[in-house]
Symmetry: C2
Subunit: 339 residues, 2 copies
């Protein structure tokens, strides 16, 4: 049997489990091989079959005969553990990847958007749900839609751990996807903390560039308890998560029109458009480009961490069906069902 | 009286408090104005005197008449609070600033090096000091020297809060300073987590570029509990903090000689030299340059966070006298004195 100490094997095993976790139905080694090839991993059907025998024996996959393999709950857990090695990837690449893959159609109001997933102990949900509600109410969240999944349910490829609940919030990268489908290439430059004064963005207090980090900046700010979304919600003064984007200045008018359409779909999250070629909040842009401030999708989650709740967030986690999301105004009803 | 809501005023007040905190003696408004000018802040003596009347009235400074002002303990506390606004600065600029300012002389073994400061509740010190010891023993710290300050003492410009102790560890940027003084311009590219296998660096698991972040990458990894220095110390397998540096390939031989001298001064922390122009741990370097892996100065602190101890770290905090540091082998004696 192959030794688990070999880092290359660990990586390939993880890749196979990932494919299975992201597949809604059971699939065979041939299909797995095809999907892996698309992400740059070359493995023969034969090699994959060997791995699958191994994963069967570990209880991570289930052999359904001619229908192929299915990932088990233990396999999903394994994917979540730290034993499984992640490939180093810069956030900027992930942004481009997801923006290209999402297929939300603005006129039909259907398709998939990009979801952040955060999970916390179930006991905290009812106590803090009202604070989450307020962030949306004060227009500090990205869009007006979200979703909640109970313990042991799945959200995308994420299985909610026992005694926990998961909250899915709209990732602001969904805007990149929508803009891209309308011919506007939006570049995500950095994630930041922005000080609000009386509801107005005043200045950046922290900045982390997407092309220089493998961890999502907002996850970092939230884990480090550096936000103050709660105060921003209550008084208009506080520190919130904001993403800095750029678009070609020539597309600014079209972008503003699109932003109105996006707003109607309850996906609006643009805090400010800059002026062509001019700095936005002291941050300069190259000639020919215009800066945009977009509210972080995780702002409603940040208030949980601010209140001392242990919450783990995975930004840009998966693609998720737009029509399975609910409006934040319905959230308390949904929470009552869960508890 | 000036309103504290004005962000510009907050910034200028902070700058003045910083100057006072970094000055060993009391100083007057003229001297403060000179020092501020060097860091790009233009304020007239008159304006500074106005501010000092304000800070006196807040109890942050003390008027010593002709000798000028001195910062009070309340003023130092104020500097630590989040109310005081930090200027956005990228870590790469701070690296260059400190490397230029430090003056450690390798042949005389004297002068100032750069210190990280971490503080924790005093009660945890004796319980975990042995774990810190082991990180140095297994050569996973930066150098072999450190310092500890008791509650209400100061370490550089940092005043240790009540019931806490502060640990000063050598910041790996000290190497940049030493190399610079010997004609080798060392560039700090990114902070990272590196997986060790049987004591050997295997691969990067997370990366944050210094020129794209305003928060030190190692502080981020430690706060996020993403390290596993404890396991690396015990078994040789784990995840540790490493900084990726580059030097001109032409200076590689001299750099290796220097590294030996540095080691003799107990400041050694180079984990690996790359090969000229070749990738190091899969990370490519521009033609004409060579990569270097340097151990993070905060690795010994990371074990505290891994054990659930709340510890706040400030990387690259201040310049500190080399001869005031102690060897890690003396640390248990020092701890006994403190407790």
């Amino acid at each position: 049997m192959k030794s688990f100490r070999d880092i290359k094997i660990k990586r390939q095993l993880q890749a196979i489990l990932h494919v299975l976790a992201n597949s809604e139905e059971s699939i065979g080694s041939e299909r797995i091989s095809e999907i892996l090839r698309l992400s740059g991993i070359e493995l023969t059907d034969r090699a994959i079959r060997d791995y699958l025998i191994l994963t069967d024996s570990m209880g991570w996959t289930e052999n359904l005969g001619r229908k192929g393999r299915r990932i088990t709950n233990r396999g999903r857990e394994e994917l979540e553990t730290e034993l499984v090695v992640d490939k180093v990837g810069f956030v900027s690449s992930k942004v481009e990847d997801l923006a290209f893959r999402m297929d939300f159609d603005l006129s039909k109001k259907q398709g998939k958007i990009i979801l952040n997933i955060s999970y916390l102990k179930k006991e905290y949900l009812s106590k803090y749900i009202n604070k989450i509600y307020q962030v949306y109410e004060k227009n500090l969240g990205m869009g007006k839609l979200l979703t909640i999944a109970d313990e042991e349910q799945t959200l995308g490829s994420f299985r909610v751990p026992k005694n926990h609940v998961a909250i899915g919030t709209i990732c602001s990268v969904s805007l990149n996807g929508i803009f891209l489908r309308h011919g506007i290439p939006m570049t995500s430059r950095f994630g930041s903390l922005v000080e609000l004064e009386q509801g107005e963005p005043k200045r950046f207090t922290q900045i982390i560039s997407y092309d220089g980090t493998t961890i999502d900046p907002l996850e970092i700010f939230i884990r480090g308890r550096m936000t103050n979304v709660g105060s921003a919600t209550k008084t208009g003064n506080g520190v919130i998560g904001v993403s800095f984007r750029e678009i070609p200045s020539v597309s600014l008018n079209k972008a503003k029109e699109l932003a109105k359409e996006v707003e109607k779909c309850l996906l609006g999250g643009i805090l400010a458009f800059g002026t062509p070629n001019q700095p936005l909040l002291d941050m300069s842009v190259p000639y020919g480009r215009t800066g945009i401030l977009v509210l972080a999708g995780l702002n409603p989650i940040a208030v949980l961490a601010e209140n001392g709740v242990e919450v783990v967030s995975k930004a840009m986690n998966c693609l998720f069906d737009y029509n399975s999301l609910i409006q934040y105004t319905e959230i308390e009803k949904l929470v009552k069902k869960i508890i």
